[in-house]
Symmetry: C2
DNA sequence: GCTATAATTGAACGAACATTCAAATAAGTG
DNA sequence: CACTTATTTGAATGTTCGTTCAATTATAGC
């Protein structure tokens, strides 16, 4: 009855994520989004709406990906070795898998672009905090984590994201991250 | 013999800092810089160069201000009460004096605008790290701090900068910051 | 293979952008 | 007061931006 869609939505969002992540919201142009996705402006607008709407979908898509990683791969990993170290190593591994750059949500939180749905970002960060809390409670040294300790951990994880951008070697950065989180959580 | 300058350079840089800090490099327009400084485009270009050059001067100006705060006010404060707590409280005070928003250098490090002189940002962050190190060594509990511990502290301070942007109350944020830094440094 | 319908195309739009420069202005010197 | 020289003015420049939409194309059902 009708022509079918020539693209896969997740593919388009993956590619758009890459550009927004690299350049930030303000510095990314619709023209670049067209180039990277292979879609003409009309198709992009018809399928995803304007720049702001595309970005909102990118944020949703990205957050779901992160949460999935933590709640499936992370949970399985830590259930195999129920130690604080395994949680820490998993978190750092996740950071380096995304190319040793700070999380898109954190970048956007600081950029605060108009109409970036700051509230959306905050709610996603809350979900991630909860998931990391659950992961930590699987470790035998922890078992229960209160709100204050979890906040300290999140604070440290955010710090590592920034620290990564200072461009030190992976070895050095991992050492700092492990040292800091261990010092903070070992009891 | 000639007409004299109608503006004070530090005033102009202060005002420009405000705009770049609030909106980021990419989202700030020359037109906004003209409005906030009260200068016409021609004057801005004649006195400070193009957008990139203005930004470079803003970064220099901002960094000098921070370093001055730490190396004079901070050093005096901690020399009066040589405790780890006084250092921590001073650092947090500094953050809240600038309006509870993350440091311009950190924002720029993540934004990575083209021609933002990323190398300049990194060198300023190194200077700040050194100054905070000196401050910590004034505390009697510390006296000597090795590179690794200082890195952990910087990592935590960066984390607090992000944490602040999550919009929790000042009381709660300060509690997290003090708890985290104490846990990390008390021995 | 024709038709109906939805997706795609890409040139075109006005708005906003960074930057320029000839003309106007102000002030120190003789 | 006139002259010289540096500063300021602000309209104008060409470019790039986000966005639109009439025309074109592809496909599923008959």
């Amino acid at each position: 009855m009708t022509r079918s869609c020539a693209y896969e939505v997740p593919d388009v969002l993956d590619r758009a994520t890459e550009v927004f992540w690299k350049q930030g919201y303000a510095a990314t142009t619709m023209s670049e989004l067209c180039d990277i996705t292979g879609l003409q402006p009309g198709s992009l607008y018809a399928g995803f709406g304007n720049k702001q709407a595309i970005f909102r979908q990118v944020i949703e898509h990205y957050s779901e990906k992160i949460l999935r990683e933590i709640n499936t791969r992370g949970v399985i990993r830590v259930s195999e070795e129920k130690t604080l170290d395994s949680v820490i190593k998993f978190i750092i591994e996740l950071m380096y898998e995304s190319g040793a750059r700070s999380c898109l949500l954190i970048k956007t939180l600081l950029e605060k672009p108009v109409g970036s749905e700051q509230q959306l970002i905050l709610s996603k960060l809350n979900l991630i905090e909860q998931s990391i809390g659950s992961l930590l409670e699987q470790a035998e040294e922890i078992q229960n984590i209160n709100e204050r300790d979890l906040s300290s951990v999140m604070c440290t994880i955010y710090g590592i994201h920034i620290y990564i951008e200072r461009g030190y070697s992976k070895e050095r950065t991992i050492k700092i991250a492990v040292d800091t989180l261990r010092q903070l959580l070992n009891r």
